[in-house]
């Protein structure tokens, strides 16, 4: 009896200690995989003798689809690059949290993708503290990595040193996607200036463009996002600077400029007249897109013009006769064109020192990225497998019609390809939709009148610490103004609130950094 109960207790204890040691053991085994090859084998870098052991690399990255992609693409990439890859996908929606907690527990993998430039700003402090490998000096050893555009690399430098590789994006993709069939029917041409833009919104609402005899359409559909919704794009058309502008030789935030007020007035008027969705401040991207693809709205502004393909695909399911086109050259009140530009990248990759033990290991990882920048590997990761996910037409890649297959198998990897078609040599996309072809032309036009963010490569401690929280004040006030809840004085009060709670310091710090 006694013996039995004792052994029982022992069993319980054992079970618990097993659970505990399993937790502890996890870290050890991870360290082991982090540095798989013994020191001698990676001290010299020749590929000539006997087939080299594949490099084991663990990669953490955000996932923009709902399910983790299968290994199809990964296996192909492993074959081409002689690596053994472990991809850790995490949903993009909660990626910042994942990033912060992994960082806090010291469990970032060897290759860590961030999410966007905002997460990059948050990481800067840790980068300065030396938590990540500086790769600038090594870059010249890799012929393909060396092709990365210096001006964009410059935007990703911290204190003048390079720590990251970038995932390139066209500098200015945004514009409007609109119902060409409606415009043609009502005898309108693409809006040449902001007044015509308003007139188009009005006509799309009031003149029954879908011809069903009911007033059930709206001009513009917008969503709860100032930057990637319609607001920022239209504000650039109104001549507002890109986040920061120069006034009397000093950097000032965009919301102190005339153009910002003009833009708010524009949307206020559009909303009050009923030419846009009334609930736009609470409308999610999904709902906004749905409103457009159901044939209720005429203009979708602010998103990437390259999205026209997917919008078109969904729209013609509901409205088979619909025709879409893209447009971005809308002049401001003074007759000038302007587009805001991103700093040329939409995400970066970092290499944490906690996971990458020494420079030799770093070189091996960089070698993998160097191979990623060859057309063979980049094409597999960006387009998929030829004949399955895409075919080559006129030297360009034409995605297969099985969109779901591409979405499931390729999309997860697509967003992680570093560089851009010009530098990594992958295929440009083959477009059939006239609106998309037009969009590609407009991308080039946009850059000619592009306005860069002057603070892109600058630092401000206060901005890092409180920027997001403070921006909320301005964002709220902007919506409240557009909804008529506050007037100009109320907005100015919010701006002075922003200044007194730390904005003044941000202005000061950016101006000091700019010198």
């Amino acid at each position: 009896m006694k013996k039995k109960s004792f052994s029982m207790l022992l069993t319980v204890l054992l079970a618990f200690s097993l659970v505990l040691s399993a937790c502890g053991g996890g870290e050890k085994s991870k360290e082991a995989t982090a540095d798989p090859t013994p020191a001698p084998s990676n001290s010299n870098e020749e590929v000539s003798t006997a087939p080299e052991e594949p490099t084991e690399i663990t990669i953490m990255l955000p996932l923009n689809t709902s399910e983790t992609p299968p290994d199809t693409i990964k296996k192909e990439v492993e074959k081409l690059t002689n690596t053994k890859l472990t991809y850790q996908f995490f949903p993009a929606d909660t990626y910042e949290e994942k990033l912060n907690t992994s960082f806090a527990t010291g469990s970032l993998p060897q290759v860590t993708y961030l999410k966007n430039s905002t997460t990059f700003v948050q990481m800067k402090e840790a980068i300065k503290d030396g938590q990540f490998w500086e790769i600038g000096p090594l870059l010249s050893e890799f012929p393909n990595l060396n092709k990365l555009k210096p001006e964009i690399l410059n935007n990703t430098k911290v204190d003048g040193k390079l720590y990251s590789l970038y995932i390139g994006r066209p500098l200015a993709r945004q514009g409007m996607i609109y119902r060409k069939d409606w415009a043609d029917k009502l005898g309108l041409s693409a809006p040449a200036n902001v007044d015509e833009l308003f007139e188009m919104a009005k006509a799309f609402t009031e003149q029954d463009p879908d011809g069903n005899g009911q007033k059930d359409t709206i001009g513009i559909v917008d969503r709860n996002e100032l930057v990637y919704g319609a607001f920022k794009t239209v504000s650039a058309w109104f001549g507002t600077p890109n986040y920061w502008g120069t006034k009397d030789g000093k950097l000032e935030p965009e919301f102190t400029f005339e153009g910002y007020y003009d833009t708010m007035d524009f949307f206020k008027k559009v909303r009050e007249s009923g030419y846009m969705n009334q609930d736009f401040a609470a409308t999610s991207k999904t709902d906004a897109v749905k409103m457009f693809t159901s044939g209720k709205a005429g203009m979708y502004i602010g998103g990437s013009m390259q999205d026209i393909d997917s919008l078109h695909k969904d729209l013609i399911k509901n409205v088979p006769e619909a025709v879409l086109d893209t447009h971005s050259m809308v002049a401001g009140p003074d007759g000038n064109f302007a587009q805001w530009m991103i700093p040329g990248y939409n995400n970066i990759v970092l290499f944490p020192k906690s996971a990458v033990k020494d420079e030799a290991e770093l070189r091996k990882i960089l070698a993998f990225f160097d191979k990623m920048m060859t057309p063979e590997v980049a094409n597999v990761m960006y387009w998929g497998i030829e004949g399955v996910h895409y075919t080559v037409v006129d030297g360009k890649a034409k995605p297969s019609s099985e969109k779901e297959l591409i979405e499931r198998e390729v999309k997860g990897y697509k967003d992680s390809v570093i560089g851009e078609a010009e530098t990594n040599g992958m295929y440009e996309s083959y477009n059939e939709l006239p609106g998309r072809i037009h969009a590609e032309e407009l991308l080039l036009e946009n850059v000619k009148v592009g306005v860069a963010d002057p603070t892109a490569a600058l630092d401000s401690v206060t901005y890092m610490e409180k920027g997001v929280e403070l921006q909320q004040i301005i964002t709220d006030a902007t919506y409240q103004y557009m909804y008529g809840q506050i007037d100009k004085a109320g907005f100015e009060k919010a701006v002075s609130d922003w200044k007194s709670r730390g904005g003044d310091k941000i202005i000061e710090e950016f101006n000091a950094a700019a010198k």
């Binding site: 109960s5 029982m8 207790l9 319980v12 618990f16 910042e96 949290e97 912060n100 960082f103 806090a104 527990t105 010291g106 948050q122 402090e125 840790a126 503290d129 938590q131 709206i218 709860n224 969705n277 009334q278 609930d279 401040a281 609470a282 409308t283 709902d287 409103m291 906690s354 890092m464 610490e465 409180k466 920027g467 997001v468 929280e469 909320q472 964002t475 709220d476 902007t478 919506y479 409240q480 909804y483 809840q485 609130d497 709670r501």
Partner: protein
């Protein structure tokens, strides 16, 4: 059980009595050994998952940097608490939290009780079961679903409620984007999702009421309402109070996800609560220490409230939770 008194200075007897006491204890432990074994997982659970993580609270007194760790980070004392209390928005946020909490207590809390009493009065098991299942169901939908369904119903761009309003000649109401409607929307959604689920414990308590009592009351000519008032409610009073105290303990846990989904620029004035503030100011900017300080503050308020209510309920002659 005998009391053992120890005389100071009396060495030999002390040793003797100590021995008897410890053997007494041993005996008792041995007699109830299975109870202790059964207790073990629970105790371990609390130690491992509730007590050990508390050491993390240390970082609210530091300028915690993930890469420097708890031991390497700089100590700043009450700096983060100072920042919290001097934040101009702080009292507004606290007030919003308290208002939503009060709505939870005064409007939501009685509803499961009423619903349980009503379910109890239903005759016919078949109908009762169907009805119960139907009111439970919303509990298994996530807040995202509940909020999205509400959005579709009340949006001004073709939502059914606003369409009906305008059909009958009323002004459309901007439910989603107004300070005035956030709280009603919040509490209606809480009731919608949780009220049915909340009845379970009450129904169990009601089922335990001695049917003899009802019979006796009926003999005395008590009607339905009288029976509910004089028999059902008093017998489940203990359960109600226990649940009430537990609810108070979650004074500031209003469901981050739910409120965050309802929040937008037009209703932040009344909708920003402590949890959502922690998210925007703390986690999204990676300010772990500040977020922890706020969470710490929140827990302390919860603890104080529980102790307060527990004491009040004991004063009123009821059993508390401890």
């Amino acid at each position: 059980m005998q009391e053992v008194t120890v005389q100071p200075g009396a060495a030999p007897p002390l040793r003797l009595e100590k021995k008897t006491r410890s053997s007494e204890l041993k005996k008792r432990l041995w007699r109830n050994k299975w109870l202790y074994v059964m207790l073990l997982p629970g105790v371990l659970y609390f130690i491992i998952f509730k007590y050990l993580p508390m050491y993390g609270l240390i970082i609210s007194f530091q300028n915690y940097k993930p890469y420097q760790g708890i031991f390497g980070s700089e100590w700043v004392g009450f700096e983060h608490f100072k920042r919290l209390f001097t934040e101009p928005e702080f009292f507004n946020i606290l007030w919003n939290t308290i208002v939503l909490f009060a709505l939870n207590i005064f409007i939501y809390f009685p509803i499961p009780i009423i619903l349980a009493l009503m379910l109890n009065e239903l005759r016919g098991n078949f109908f009762k079961r169907i009805f119960q299942t139907l009111v439970y169901l919303p509990h298994f939908m996530s807040w995202v679903i509940i909020v999205s369904i509400s959005y579709v119903m009340v949006t001004m761009d073709g939502g059914i409620i606003n369409e009906l309003l305008s059909y009958f000649g009323f002004e459309k109401i901007n439910f989603l984007l107004s300070n005035g409607w956030l709280r009603p929307m919040y509490i209606i959604q809480v009731i919608w999702r949780e009220a049915g689920w909340g009845t379970i414990i009450y129904l169990a308590a009601i089922a335990a009421v001695d049917p003899g009592l009802y019979e006796a009351a009926r003999m005395d000519g008590a009607g339905r309402m009288r029976q509910v008032w004089h028999i059902t409610l008093p017998t489940i009073r203990g359960v109600i109070i226990t649940l009430f105290i537990l609810k108070i303990g979650h004074v500031l846990d209003l469901g981050f996800e739910h409120v965050y989904l309802l929040l937008n620029s037009m209703n932040r004035q009344v909708g920003e609560i402590i949890d959502t503030y922690v998210y925007t100011a703390g986690l999204r900017q990676g300010q772990f220490s500040y977020s922890t300080a706020i969470g710490f503050f929140k827990s302390i308020i919860g603890l104080i409230m529980v102790m307060l209510v527990n004491r009040i309920s004991k004063k009123m002659g009821e059993e508390g939770v401890y």
